[in-house]
């Protein structure tokens, strides 16, 4: 078996908050194979974005990082400045949630798109422009030449996010980190932008780490799903099997908390309680305060990820959850 393109190995991150260090990631292990799309799903504050930023070493200064992140076998935390720049410039590209904040407002769209080619690839401006125009047409922007002369404030959010996608693809990376790429857009634009990203990624055979709070969306565009809760991955499973075979009570809760547009108008079932931040987690299972199945054991014994039914689950009662799903399903 070949080693995966991206391998996150027991990543632990602590950030300085008001002088003290707070844990934002407890122990995250995840891998993405070449050409594979992996969804990282969880509520806000669960550490999804931190995980992605750690991959590109974009965490705030003075963050404490332990564990390892390997890209194509090379350890990212140990990279020198030149290697790190090459990783960012050539291998991994990031699509951010809010294109209006993440694209410099004072430069033209053309400057933004060609900048990395001109500075990193040493391509002439005219050659860079030609490539960028072709790419803009691929992301569905027809009057590309005119758009290049415009500034970000003259474009709608949906167009800007397409520009961001084009900017990520322009360097021909091997891995894309998409951090909630459609969350800031309105619903109809969301679908278009997601479809474009999905199609271009498949065409190019790129690997993707797709970060979202939307479990169904992740299941639709990804091969595999990692579910995060309070700074830890609680379940890691093939996207197609998630509905039938999810083994963590939190995953089951997330699946129940989403409206089913085609099926019965069954009432939405919210996951009770409020999501915990990673630093609030004491001993034991982070989810126990909101879990119906919680037993005294969950309070002092942290469940580790273990192989169950073709995926991995961090719950002492995963078998029970799987069984209950099997029993419940025929009645649905």
């Amino acid at each position: 078996m070949t080693s995966p393109l991206l391998e996150i190995d027991r990543l632990r991150v602590r950030l300085p908050v008001n002088g003290a260090h707070r844990t934002v990631l407890h122990e995250v292990s995840l891998s993405v194979a070449a050409g594979e799309a992996v969804g990282l799903v969880g509520e806000s504050g669960s550490g999804k974005s931190m995980t992605a930023r750690a991959v590109m070493r974009l965490l705030p200064p003075r963050a404490e990082v332990s564990g390892d992140i390997r890209f194509a076998g090379a350890s990212v935390p140990e990279m020198g400045a030149a290697d790190l720049r090459r990783l960012r410039a050539d291998d991994v590209a990031m699509i951010f949630q809010d294109p209006r904040a993440h694209i410099n407002p004072v430069h033209s769209i053309g400057d933004f798109l060609t900048e990395s080619l001109r500075l990193n690839g040493k391509v002439t401006r005219s050659a860079a422009t030609a490539r960028v125009v072709a790419l803009l047409k691929e992301v569905g922007i027809s009057d590309a030449e005119r758009r290049l002369r415009q500034h970000p404030h003259e474009l709608s959010g949906g167009l800007l996010q397409r520009v961001m996608i084009a900017a990520a693809l322009v360097a021909e990376p091997r891995l894309i980190l998409a951090d909630e790429p459609t969350t800031a857009l309105d619903v109809t634009t969301q679908e278009e932008v997601m479809a474009i990203l999905d199609e271009l990624r498949r065409d190019r055979g790129l690997a993707m780490l797709f970060i979202t709070h939307d479990l169904e969306l992740a299941a639709a565009v990804c091969d595999r799903i990692g579910v995060m809760y309070a700074g830890s991955i609680v379940e890691d499973r093939d996207a197609r099997e998630l509905h039938e075979r999810s083994g963590h009570p939190y995953t089951v809760g997330l699946l129940g908390a989403r409206p089913d547009l085609l099926g019965d108008r069954a009432p939405l079932v919210a996951v009770p309680g409020r999501p915990l931040s990673a630093y609030e987690v004491g001993d034991g299972c982070a989810f126990r305060t909101r879990c119906e199945l919680a037993q005294p054991r969950c309070g002092d014994d942290v469940p580790q990820l273990r192989e169950i039914a073709g995926g991995s689950v961090a719950c002492h009662f995963a078998e029970q959850v799987l069984d209950s799903r099997k029993v419940v399903l025929p009645h649905d």
Binding site: R88, D90, P105, H107, S116, L119
Partner: protein, 317 residues
């Protein structure tokens, strides 16, 4: 994009502001106490015939708007009026003094922008001890008003060390600059501190901004990120504050001129206001307002050229 419409609107605004200012300046002195004719006659008990003659000569019996129009059209044609106190044309009084004051303001402005922006950028980009050192120095600088700095400078550099002249404006470019050094430093000290603080916070804000994270994530060289994404974006707010500061120097120059005996328009304004030489006070006040408004307009236009969003928001408003 910087459109002709945007520049046109700013120019129109400039003209309207100057017109309003001219009415206010002329009107407030028109309403000020004292009989100008008695003042012009100069004697302790002028005879009524002489006063009537003076009133006719100086159009003092005309209605306000007529007098105002007479004054304004004269200004526009280069006729600045006559000083009663100095018994000479205002043009001749101002000519050399305006040059001296302009030199002082430009000198101080250069110090403010070069040192203020330099220190602020250094503090933001380097951080750590350099940032702390700049904070300490600028805190002291901000607490030193011009007249206090002037006294200390004269005592230290002129009386004790003898490096700079105590008094006067000098002649010839180098000699003039030498004479203007202490006044310029005293005038600029507080503002260097102010501009460096604004610069530091503007540059820090850009360093932490999300679009700089994007640029970093694209593997761009640090030098390009600092130049094209940090300094370039901080330029508009820094320029606006620097411009306001420099425009304000025209008013602040009076204190420095008076303290160092520099023969400029600020010192002249104080002198003429005390002696109720209305014609001179009006022209100098008008000149200071004009300098302030023109600099502000220039800064507005340059800021808009630096940040295209400013044009958009001005058009929307």
């Amino acid at each position: 994009m910087l459109t002709p419409a945007f520049v046109g609107r700013r120019l129109l605004g400039l003209v309207v502001t100057l017109l309003v200012a001219s009415v206010v300046i002329f009107g407030s002195l028109y309403l000020s106490p004292g009989d100008p004719a008695a003042l012009l006659a100069g004697g302790s008990t002028p005879n009524p015939e002489a006063l009537a003659q003076i009133r006719a000569d100086f159009h003092l019996n005309d209605p306000f708007w007529s007098q105002y129009w007479h004054w304004l059209s004269g200004l526009l044609q280069g006729d600045l009026g006559r000083s009663v106190v100095f018994r000479s044309d205002v043009v001749d009084l101002l000519a050399s003094r305006v040059v001296t004051s302009l030199m002082l303001v430009v000198y101080a402005a250069t110090l403010i922008i070069v040192i203020g922006v330099g220190l602020g950028s250094l503090a933001a980009l380097r951080g750590g001890r350099i940032s702390t050192a700049v904070t300490v120095v600028t805190t002291i600088g901000m607490a030193a008003p011009t007249f206090v700095a002037a006294i200390v400078f004269v005592w230290l550099f002129s009386t004790q060390l003898g490096w700079f002249p105590i008094y006067g404006s000098g002649s010839g470019l180098v000699d003039r600059l030498w004479h203007l050094t202490l006044p310029a430093v005293a005038l600029s000290l507080t503002w260097i501190a102010y501009v460096s603080r604004i610069t530091r916070s503007a540059v820090s804000a850009e360093l932490e901004s999300e679009h700089v994270v994007t640029a970093t994530s694209r593997g761009l060289p640090r030098r390009s990120i600092v130049r094209h994404h940090v300094m370039r974006n901080a330029a508009a707010p820094v320029l606006t504050i620097s411009g306001l500061t420099v425009a304000g120097l025209f008013a602040g120059t009076a204190v420095a001129e008076q303290a160092f005996g520099v023969n400029g328009i600020g010192a002249l304004l104080i002198d003429c206001a005390a002696k109720q030489d209305l014609a001179v006070v009006q022209v100098i006040a008008m000149f200071m307002v004009a300098a302030f408004v023109v600099i502000n307009t220039v800064v507005d236009v340059i800021s808009a050229a630096l940040d295209p969003r400013l044009v958009a928001s001005a058009v929307d408003a």
